[in-house]
Symmetry: C2
Subunit: 217 residues, 2 copies
């Protein structure tokens, strides 16, 4: 019975994933997971002793997914810098839109339990070295040449991630509020354009009137 054995272990894990994505850690009950997996609730503890165990596996995986996507997407190509960044922001949006549950889970869990934020931080260390530092240099040299507006790399990344995550997470609510956006895909497509438009315009060289910059001291 090895085949079925490994199967149900997987089935439980996937059921747990879906429950946690929908209701968060506190909101899901182990019995619900068992029900969704179609197994007895005693079997959960037989495989993964505790609820925490189960959750940590899921959460860890999601954090890794999130962190790696950032690193992968924002790691340079040969395009001009602005286009490179806008393109990356678009890919990032698509990635989040394909994993709305992940965004929700990360956001809510991390906001409710600060300790989880520290956990997430460590997954973003690669980002700091591999993406942020080289990006800052590139940004500065482009700004020096007058090809784009000056901006701090952390602020830029905040802008992109904030806009993208929020868009995906609050989409259902905005659509319930303003009924004139059609179906989900349509709204998300519009929102994607809006976000990229914002980023592109933010990066465009300063005209005379719009000269404002925020950089750390």
């Amino acid at each position: 019975m090895e085949t079925t054995g490994r199967n149900t272990e997987q089935i439980i894990l996937e059921a747990a994933e879906q429950e946690f994505l929908l209701h968060g850690f506190e909101g899901t009950k182990t019995t619900d997971i068992a029900n969704r997996a179609g197994v007895n609730h005693a079997l959960l503890h037989y495989y993964y002793r505790t609820k925490e165990n189960l959750f940590n596996r899921i959460f860890e995986q999601k954090m890794q997914l999130f962190g790696c996507a950032l690193v992968d997407i924002f790691n340079g190509s040969t395009l001009p810098l602005v286009e490179q960044i806008v393109c990356a922001a678009g890919k990032h949006f698509d990635f989040l839109a394909d994993n709305p549950g992940m965004s929700r889970l990360l956001l809510t869990e991390v906001l409710c339990k600060p300790s989880r934020m520290e956990q997430l931080m460590t997954h973003l260390d690669k980002l700091k070295e591999e993406v942020l530092q080289p990006m800052q240099e590139a940004l500065d040299s482009e700004a020096d040449a007058g090809h784009m507006a000056r901006i701090d790399a952390v602020m830029l990344l905040m802008n992109i991630v904030q806009l993208n995550i929020c868009a995906v997470v609050i989409q259902p609510y905005v659509q319930a509020y303003a009924d004139n956006f059609g179906e989900r895909r349509h709204f998300l497509a519009l929102r994607r354009e809006e976000n990229l438009c914002i980023i592109r315009k933010r990066l465009a060289p300063d005209s005379e009137e719009t000269k404002t910059t925020a950089t750390p001291s």
Copy 2:
């Protein structure tokens, strides 16, 4: 004993507010509230029968605060439209920065319990009539005149609220991650400038290259 009576009732309410702001609904225990208020835990139930009662009072008040601030701040002045909007966005930022607990609570509670979102919606109905509709007309006429880029009012408001809320809520985490922003007030000041810069540039008339617009069908 009327004076002291009304006092402790208030004291309990304030203690509850602080606990809820810090830990959310699920995260706070009634005994913690009692402890913070310096009264016996039986007294909570004597005044406000249930935890839900207590929470709803707080939450209702916060939603109202949030909704009214939006309406007040974004209700027109005599400035040119773009300046009017940027100025309002700045005031909105300041309001959130002064009430970081409120932003956190609204965000987390509303994300975890969709029913609360519906509750929040009703508090934003005024906004729809009094702000969004007139704003859309003003935006369109300015865009027609070529004085600013075309934009949907809902998208614009989303942009502002998202950027401002996120900035305030994730500030402690970003500061823990990137250590080069100095103290909280300094970071928030920078972030405020960044947000206003984004909005201003988004609203600036389209130059030739950056021509992208998102409007509902």
